[in-house]
Amino acid sequence: MTGTAAMAQETEPKNGWHHNLYVEVGPKFTAHLSPNLEPFRPTGGWGAYINVDSRMRTWQASARYEIVSPNYHWAFRTGLQYGFNYKRIGYKQAEEEFHTMDYIDREWYYFEVDNEEQLEYLRVKGIEQHSHYLGIPIELRYYFKSNLETFRMYLAAEADFDFLVGNRNKVNFLDKDGMAPYADQVTSHYANPDPMNASTYFGAGFQVGNGNGIGVGFNWLIHLFEISGSTGMLPTKPKFAGSKLQVELLIPLK
């Protein structure tokens, strides 16, 4: 008796543990701190503001094993998680600026690079950081009793331990070919991600099943606090840095 199949049989005596396999995918929305804008020459004229956009996107996919208590309330879940983290500092899209009445007439910046003798700039459209993680999620769930056969809600607490397996820094120069060899002069102003990043989450979700055990679920987890590790050129806020939304496919094992 497993998964959503168990939902239909909660009135039966429960004397065995349930084992499930999950495949989960979803985005993570992360609030980040302001990046280092010091090397950007102001673009604004009177007031000399620096109108630079920064954004972070994360996609995660994981396979998780779940063991559920016989009464189908408590569950422990763990597995293997892949995460792709994309960060960008650069030109703010023209349409966004139009709405904010914050118009800039060019799509690149003067980025000051280190030069002891002279004042030196490279014309940069954007700086990107692509980071790949393999991680171990550890999750505890509490499933609520449900009067519906194919529906179950739960609360979840999760800790993710993500290990950096690849990182690439990319600079989009205005002179793409000519300045490519000097990308390090730009990226050296920004930190690379730490080898390990650990965060905790708390949230809720629900599952719907077909009555035969297989089901799909959705959950929304809020970032509580960061245990350790920097995410690189756009450091995340240490607390309440966003949330992640995941779609899960439940496959009962036995």
């Binding site: 020459r41 102001p42 604004g44 004229g45 009177w46 007031g47 000399a48 003067y110 030069n115 003798e117 002279q118 004042l119 030196e120 700039y121 490279l122 014309r123 120069f173 205005l174 002179d175 000519g178 300045m179 000097y182």
Partner: protein
Amino acid sequence: MKKYLIIAVALIVMNACSKSDFKETQYIADPDFPGLPIYSEMGYNTFGAYINQNVFYCNQNDRPFYLVADRDNLTMTLYGWCNNDNFNMVFTLPIDTTYHLEDYHSLLALDGKSFTIDTVPTSCIVKMEGRYAPEIESIYSGYIKFEKVQQVLVDKADAEVVVSGKFQFRAFTPDGTRIDVTGGRFDLGVDNANFVNFRR
């Protein structure tokens, strides 16, 4: 008069043809000196000073200054605003031939150089222009220092020379009124569009 007319026309034409991307003024207010831009060495095309209790500052967005070299002098004119009216401050520096002023790159020789402001030809002479500008008869003390003059590279290519520095002086008008110019600073991006050499 004809000479200055030629200079003005030449500079206007050259400025219109300039492809420099550093033409805009990047004005950042100095919290310690209300009304003045911060002292910077980045080519923000700003300048300012207190003239007694009034603020003299740059009021345009497009390089409000010119440098003109002739046989004996380098003249730096700051086109600004004071007392709600146009107000220019003109520094005439005694540049002898040892400076080899050929083009705007030659300004790099001024890096770190300081000039006494006085009324004698061997020092820097200051003139104020404008409807309400006072006439300077004598200078009690003062200086102009080019704190940093540096080449600017963009994408590894020459872009301009940044001339930045400070100035202050005390002057007197013919009727004995004292004029204290304090907190003076300038941060100017110079290229062929705003540098003319009549020495050649």
